[in-house]
């Protein structure tokens, strides 16, 4: 049980596909100009991860090693095409926004990585749990980055849906660079740096406070 929980939780934080493994950077940089796009891209990718994970785990004894990469890619491409067609049929507005980035999920190395390194070596249940964890990790990361960039670049959250939230008022002069490609690199870099600081062993809140009280002491003695 502990192992399965571990499989799930890893993808959310410790081995987050975006902030720690730095996989699938193309959609991460390209579609996170708004929280809505990030969220839907994350969910679409999660569906493909799950589908490819299940099929590639079930077929692990059938697919010969020599052709595993082309086989995985065909399976992944099938699920991506399903997402593409279904989203265009049932969610045309969002599909139009994401346009060519949906077919590009095929080449998201996160999915191939999970099929190759995990799903094809474990049973279906573990493959499903892993896919859900990584998918959710990818989704929150994209939504988070999209949210930061959207707030800075538009002053809103979840624009393009029925539930737009006006975060910053009329006074706010949108920071255009946040939604431009440069903004994607800057935001991603800062967030990855922040995640690194939080995760690093040397960082502890206690130390931070200890440091500041030491300064205070010095000031009082002076």
């Amino acid at each position: 049980m502990a192992e399965k929980t571990q499989d799930f939780v890893k993808g959310l934080w410790e081995e987050n596909p975006v902030f720690v493994m730095l996989l699938g950077m193309c959609p991460v940089l390209a579609v996170t100009s708004t929280a809505t796009n990030g969220l839907f891209m994350g969910l679409a990718t999660s569906f493909v991860l799950l589908g490819a994970g299940i099929v590639n785990s079930l077929l692990q004894n059938i697919i010969p090693d020599e052709v595993r990469i082309p086989s995985f890619i065909v399976v992944i491409a099938t699920f991506v095409t399903i997402v593409d067609l279904v989203s265009r049929a049932y969610m045309p507005a969002i599909a139009e926004q994401l346009a060519l980035f949906i077919p590009l999920i095929i080449v998201n190395c996160l999915i191939l990585n999970r099929s190759e390194a995990f799903a094809s070596n474990v049973n279906v249940l573990r493959a499903i749990i892993d896919a859900l964890g990584r998918g959710l990790g990818f989704t929150w990361a994209l939504t988070f980055l999209g949210g930061i960039r959207e707030i800075l670049g538009f002053g809103t959250l979840f624009r393009g849906t029925g539930a737009v939230i006006q975060v910053l008022g009329e006074w706010y002069q949108p920071m255009l660079i946040a939604i431009l490609p440069a903004g994607a690199f800057i935001t991603l870099g800062l967030v990855v740096g922040l995640v690194n600081v939080i995760m690093s062993k040397s960082f502890s809140i206690k130390e931070l406070f200890g440091g500041s009280s030491a300064v205070k002491e010095e000031q009082t003695t002076a």
Binding site: A30, V31, S33, T34, N37, L59, I62, I63, P64, E66, V67, P70, S71, V74, V75, A77, T78, T81, I82, L85, V86, R88, A89, Y90, P92, E96, Q97, L98, A99, L100, F101, G153, L176, I179, L180
Partner: protein, 181 residues
Amino acid sequence: MANDKMQPRLILVLTLITIASAVSLTFIDDLTAPLIAEEAEKRVQEAVLSVVPDAVDFEEVEDENFEIFKALDEVGEVVGVAVQHDIRGYTGPIDVMVGLDMAEEKIIALDVLSHTETPGLGARITEDEFRDQFRGRDFSSQEEVDIIAGATISSNAVEVVVSEVVESAEDIQAAVESGGE
């Protein structure tokens, strides 16, 4: 490396996987294709009615260069002409619908039917703020359109596609008149 005995199995497995993929996608395509086509048709209908708001109905007019729709009111009078035209944008074709008031020689309104521009940048050509600049624009207007910051190519493409339509206004009018008889 695969030895000679291995190879038929490689081919067989990969072929079977590809066949399974093709079969399932055919099935999904069968389910979604009518919905996607219906959505596209609805988009055209909405676009014609949105660029010529006085219209309640429309008829397609045969033409070599443009997709022309004659917009009609309740009594079947022509109240405007909607022209569909496309151009290469930044990442792919931009398909627009332009509503023309032939009597006043003015653009009534503009709608973007489909495009593959960058989300959040070029994709903003669909927003009212940009499209409204074409509302009521004279055919002869030389005034420049305010481009969207970060989306110069997309904005310019729309401006060019609109002027292509406007420059052919006489031909379009001729097509509408001959098609109406």
